[in-house]
């Protein structure tokens, strides 16, 4: 199968859906001629024109609000938010308006829009350009949240998101834009709420989101060399969350680590770990562990920044401890 970058995958998904559905349009800062600073949308304005690929002023709350209005009245906007950190600026329009309109109207109004943005540290971009804020939006009922882990997922989830009749937030990993993966030429969609078992294993389940899927896979390789068989699962969407697949895996392996690049406290790993604890409790041989980013603003200095995110080695280390039963002592 051909291999394309995550960036190309996103571009293809949007282009295909814009061809299919004339109500789909894009808006954001420097999305047209510049094709975004990450060049993800390059070429779209040439095909679809400035009416459907709209450069906005630096008014995130404003154009997010406009997307809600356009969605309520019959369009399918895709909002490009240059950095995930700017989500703080649009929370009101996203969480008080977009997320609640369908419910508040008793099901009469719908808000089919996609907010595409990104996550991920270690780009030396410091505290306001490096956050992974998926936990915040996942907490708000009415929003769906997708976290693609490769070009393949990025394309399939984006197409599903555009066709969904609800506000969907997609977090792409900025560091993965140039990563290639096999992506079929033929059209495909990836349904929401269906986890992907990336690697089967017996001894422990590693659940990773977005970039952390790769981290989990690398950890699994390290562990395999030591005779520990790790299962790696990518939930793909955290809302809806395919808890069934996760729980079944944990019932089999009896141990789990949940890995996510958002801050650990009050973050995504807590929810997933809690559900596993609640629903697979009597199958667990060790506590479900969580590995998120450190609870610190992302530091600029490379010497510090790299310490803040989970690494394959750190995951493997924890997995080893869990499998050896060492957590009994470590935990108390």
């Amino acid at each position: 199968m051909r291999e394309i970058t995550l960036s190309q995958a996103v571009n293809e998904a949007i282009a295909e859906e814009m061809r299919r559905d004339p109500t789909v349009f894009l808006m954001g800062e420097d999305v047209a001629e510049a094709g975004t600073p990450f060049k993800v949308l390059a070429g779209l304005v040439e095909e679809f024109g400035t009416d459907r690929v709209i450069d906005t002023p630096i008014s995130e709350p404003g154009f997010m609000g406009m997307a809600v209005g356009a969605a309520m009245t019959g369009a399918r906007p895709i909002v490009d938010l240059m950095f995930g950190d700017f989500i703080f600026l649009i929370m009101d329009q996203l969480c008080n308006q977009a997320a609640k309109t369908h419910y508040m109207s008793g099901g009469k109004l719908t808000v089919p829009l996609v907010l595409r943005t990104n996550l991920g540290a270690t780009r030396r971009s410091a505290a306001q350009h490096s956050q992974s804020l998926q936990a915040l939006v996942a907490h708000i009922p009415g929003l769906k949240v997708a976290m693609p882990s490769s070009a393949y997922e990025a394309k399939g989830l984006m197409k599903t998101a555009i066709r969904d009749n609800n506000p969907v937030v997609i977090f792409e990993d900025k560091l993965m834009y140039q990563d290639k993966a096999p992506v079929p030429e033929e059209e495909y969609l990836i349904p929401f709420g269906v986890a992907n078992v990336k690697r089967e294993g017996r001894d422990i389940t590693l659940i990773g989101t977005s970039s952390m899927v790769q981290v989990a896979e690398k950890a699994a390789e390290i562990l395999a060399r030591e005779g520990i068989s790790a299962e790696v699962i990518d939930p793909r969407t955290i809302v809806p969350l395919d808890e069934k697949t996760l729980i079944e895996s944990v019932k089999k392996t009896s141990r789990a680590i949940v890995i996510d690049e958002g801050h650990q406290s009050y973050g995504v790993t807590a929810e997933i770990a809690s559900r596993l604890n609640e629903k697979a409790f009597y199958h667990l041989d060790a506590p479900v562990l969580r590995m998120g980013a450190m609870d610190v603003p992302v530091p600029f200095s490379p010497a510090l920044e790299d310490l803040t995110v989970p690494t394959p080695e750190a995951v493997a280390e924890k997995a080893r401890m869990l499998c050896a039963g060492e957590m009994i002592h470590a935990a108390e």
Binding site: S59, P61, M64, G69, Q97, M104
Partner: protein
Amino acid sequence: MAKAKTNTEDYLQMYRQMVRIRTFEDTANQLYLSAKMPGLTHMYSGEEAVAVGICEALRDSDHITSTHRGHGHCVAKGAEFKQMFCELLGKAEGYCRGKGGSMHIADQSHGNLGANAIVGGSMGIATGSALRAKLQGRDDVTVCFFGDGATAQGLMYEVMNMAALWKLPVIYACENNGYSEYTKTEEIAAGSITARAEAFGIEAHQVDGQDVLAVNALAAKLVARARKGEGPFFIELMTYRYHGHHVGDINREYYRSKAEEKDWRENRDPIIRFRAHLVAEGIASEEDLDALNAQIAADAAEAVAYAEAAAYPPAEEVDMHVFAA
């Protein structure tokens, strides 16, 4: 193309709609006072000429966005009493199946995209609705209602800028009733409200919001121009709310005098003024208008009785409509 209402039926329709709003609000206030209505609500009484003057210049495919003080906009854009009272009482037959209530009442069948409990929160929505119309080559116009207090929300300037850059068919209708909650407008708004719109290159007007004919004439003209792509526009409508900020705001003397309230009620009431005009011009007799009033009062009473007897949404609905299929 829309034009100002000038014939008898149009005049009576404007009168009828203003009285319907006033009647709706008086009834809602009674429901509150008799502890039959859950929560609080914000009365539109006194501002009827604004909603009616503007909405009578619109058609169903034109959209409006509304505010926490939204019953007037809802009635003016064509909503029915029954579904409105059901909504206010949290009943399943309400416009939003009781899930929205007073502050979120919406009526998409007539183009009302909904009240909003976030001050200024619908400014993006209105502007986006106008963007959608333009992108889809439709000549629909969107009106964004908001209060003087909402001019303090930065969102307004962000969307006015885009509306101006892209010539969107949106009309920003600022209902300046002199107060935001318990504070006078001059204490929270520096400079000039219309100049703020003009600084973005938006044509701005100020109009007496108690004169339904003046409001309607201006609205009709601007709506017609917006349909032709000459928008956006901004209107500041000088008006007054008779009740407190919300129904529970009873003792108001610490922020505004009874004399001021009395002056507006007695000397500038939009319904009294328009009624006098209709009679003076021979468009309708006192008797005609009394009969009309009585009919509306009867409609309201019937709708309330219906709503009071109506069923609440069943428990299963609590987690329905979180996501659309």
